[in-house]
């Protein structure tokens, strides 16, 4: 019902009005409203990168002072709900409860077990307790608690699937929406449109950009990489695609015409583009990005992330509309410096039939501000 096949045409063109800074300014009389920068708003779950040292390489932290324990405990106590209005009037706050840990209960297992290691030290009035043998361990080693032992109320637990060894890109809302490996989601029926309509789009010609035509190609409704397919790889291997920048900003894409074409996209499908940007000017500038184009309902449903290659995509991916409200700073590039971005477009599986047969032509305006 909800997930009829959606004819989606997306064309993304790199357009470069270099050194333009007017776009972020609102029209006169309109107050400026801060909006989230989608490049920074999401949580990037990174299992791969070690702690980075300031000068490069892996950091090694100096131990914290012991006084941090008391400070942390006091700060935590301060975070406890103190007023019934601490939830902003939307609901009465449970005074005395801690927002980060209260409210649930286990229905299996038992908390009756005594500590099998002697208490070594108590800090902050017993809020923090350390258990260790001061010397060699004494007494029987006891039964290991390793997730394979019988647990009251459940017996021997069933082991969970092993996570992948690499930095799997996070699919948006995989548990309740996005496609799961091998399918899934909440789809009930899928209907293909009568015939894939070839869509020809022409990007609006900005001042210094190239105008191009998109000839779309249909792809099977069930095909498509997992959402959040960005990330991985790394390094600055040159992309041998076409040049679509202007003097000062060199842009290469792994796709012909610097465009993403996605046709017949189904809810849960995603597509991506690799874009390599090089500062060919003689000064350092801040690179920012805005998505523009004629919006329709499809824009409201699409999600988009722009992440540096080798960096996991945020989860969930930010809405495409986040990119349309302002220029969003991505990075600062020194002369000669190169950065490679993965642009990820994802249509959530919750997209409805209202998006059917809609097309979105998304222009990317890259801005360099010195």
């Amino acid at each position: 019902m909800r997930n009829g096949a959606i004819l989606l045409a997306v064309a993304v063109t790199a357009l470069v009005p270099a050194r333009v800074s007017r776009a972020a300014a609102p029209p006169a009389g309109v107050p400026f409203v801060q909006r989230p920068n989608p490049a920074l708003a999401g949580i990037r779950l990174d299992y791969e990168a070690p702690l980075q040292a300031a000068g490069g390489g892996t950091a090694s932290l100096a131990p914290l002072q012991a006084g941090v324990t008391l400070a942390a405990v006091r700060d935590r106590a301060f975070l406890v709900y103190e007023l019934r209005d601490d939830l902003g009037g939307f609901a009465p706050a449970p005074v005395g409860a801690f927002a980060l840990s209260s409210g649930g209960r286990a229905t299996v297992g038992t908390l009756d077990g005594a500590a099998e290691i002697p208490l070594f030290s108590r800090q902050a009035g017993g809020e923090e307790n350390s258990f260790a043998f001061a010397g060699a361990p004494v007494g029987p080693s006891g039964r290991p608690d390793n997730g394979k032992q019988p647990v009251p109320g459940i017996g021997v637990p069933i082991p969970v699937p092993t996570p992948a060894p690499g930095n799997e890109p996070p699919p948006a809302n995989q548990g309740f929406g996005g496609g799961q490996k091998g399918g899934g989601g909440t789809t009930t029926t899928k209907r293909r449109p009568p015939s894939p309509t070839p869509t020809t789009t022409t990007s609006p010609p900005p001042a210094t950009a190239t105008t191009s035509t998109t000839v779309t190609t249909a792809r099977p409704a069930t095909a498509g990489p997992r959402p959040g397919g960005g990330g991985g790889g790394g390094g600055t291997t040159p992309i041998g695609g076409p040049e679509c920048g202007t003097p000062g900003i060199s842009i290469h894409s792994n796709l012909s015409g610097c465009k993403i074409d996605a046709v017949d996209m189904n809810p849960g499908d995603s597509t991506s583009e690799l874009v390599q940007i090089r500062n060919t000017s003689s000064s350092t500038y801040t690179l920012s990005l805005e998505a523009t184009g004629t919006q329709n309902h499809l824009w409201q449903d699409l999600r988009m992330a722009v992440v540096e290659q080798g960096t996991p995509a945020p989860s969930p991916l930010p809405p495409l509309l986040y990119w349309t409200t302002q220029y969003n700073d991505l990075t600062t590039l020194a002369p000669g410096e190169t950065v490679t971005y993965v642009i990820e477009l994802y249509l959530p599986s919750t997209a409805g039939n209202v998006d059917q047969s809609l097309a979105a032509v998304i222009d990317f305006d890259w801005q360099a501000t010195g």
Partner: protein, 318 residues
Amino acid sequence: MAVKTRHRLSLPRRAVASEPWYRRKELHLVVGILVAFLTVGFASQRATDGARTALDARLLNAGAGADAGLVGVESEQLSAVRAIAFTQGVAQALEANDGPALNTLVAPLHANSTVPMVDMVLPNGRVVLAVRSKGAPAPVRTRAGLLALTQALQRADGSRGGRLSELVVFRSGPTLLTISAVMKGTTPVGAVLAMTPLANVLGRLSQEVGADLTAYDSDGRPVATTAAFAPQPTGSDTARALMGGGATVTRYVFADHREQLGRLIVDHTPNAVLGVSLEDDSNVTGRIVAIYAAIGLLCTVLILATFWARVAIEQRRR
């Protein structure tokens, strides 16, 4: 007068007897009442369905929000294990099996994090140091045989540095575990475990998404919940279908509590079935709409009847 009255009364009877069946007053009355009942019933059912659809959409969004929120908890635990694993002296103290020295280094880091439980373990699983926030489950002596420990040590030289997260059901209950190998040079000398009881995680997420959350194992048995009632098992077939990537399932988990079942994703892997539930009051909405519709119809009938009576009386007077 009485005779006249009787005579006048007998006229309509004869007229009725001669009318075709579809002009009988009784039929009109029955059809009118039937239409009124159907109208009230349809309005009630439509209101019920609308309220239920809105509830289902809210449950789906809450489930997606809970999975997204879990990423934040994972991220906090990862931050804690990285801070410990990359602190100077930790690897040396762990290798030396020196609990007191480890405590000096690890306890402040633990206090500075939001993670309630941290274990420092040797490759053989022996716990050298356990740090607990007040109220957290008591420490155990050994984690020997813990699958995550084996994986962390095996993958210590991989791109992840042996870091991973998963759900483990310990004797104290289900626990969200994040582990990292502790390296001395290129050799793993042990691991650090950051753990939060799943019940606490669900409690936190429940406040964020505004719905009750329940986690079920892959046999469909509830293992942790924020609901005040005792959730019914989902059945192993349903649970395994969901874990395998099946579409979300809707059911009533207890009385009027409607539940959407999806997956609890940890480290991009389905680790459990996640149930999101709220009380379904759509029947109340339907009843109220039925009452309003019935009152509206009755009032309409009364107004029309009054109008008809006035017209009839005026015609009779003429």
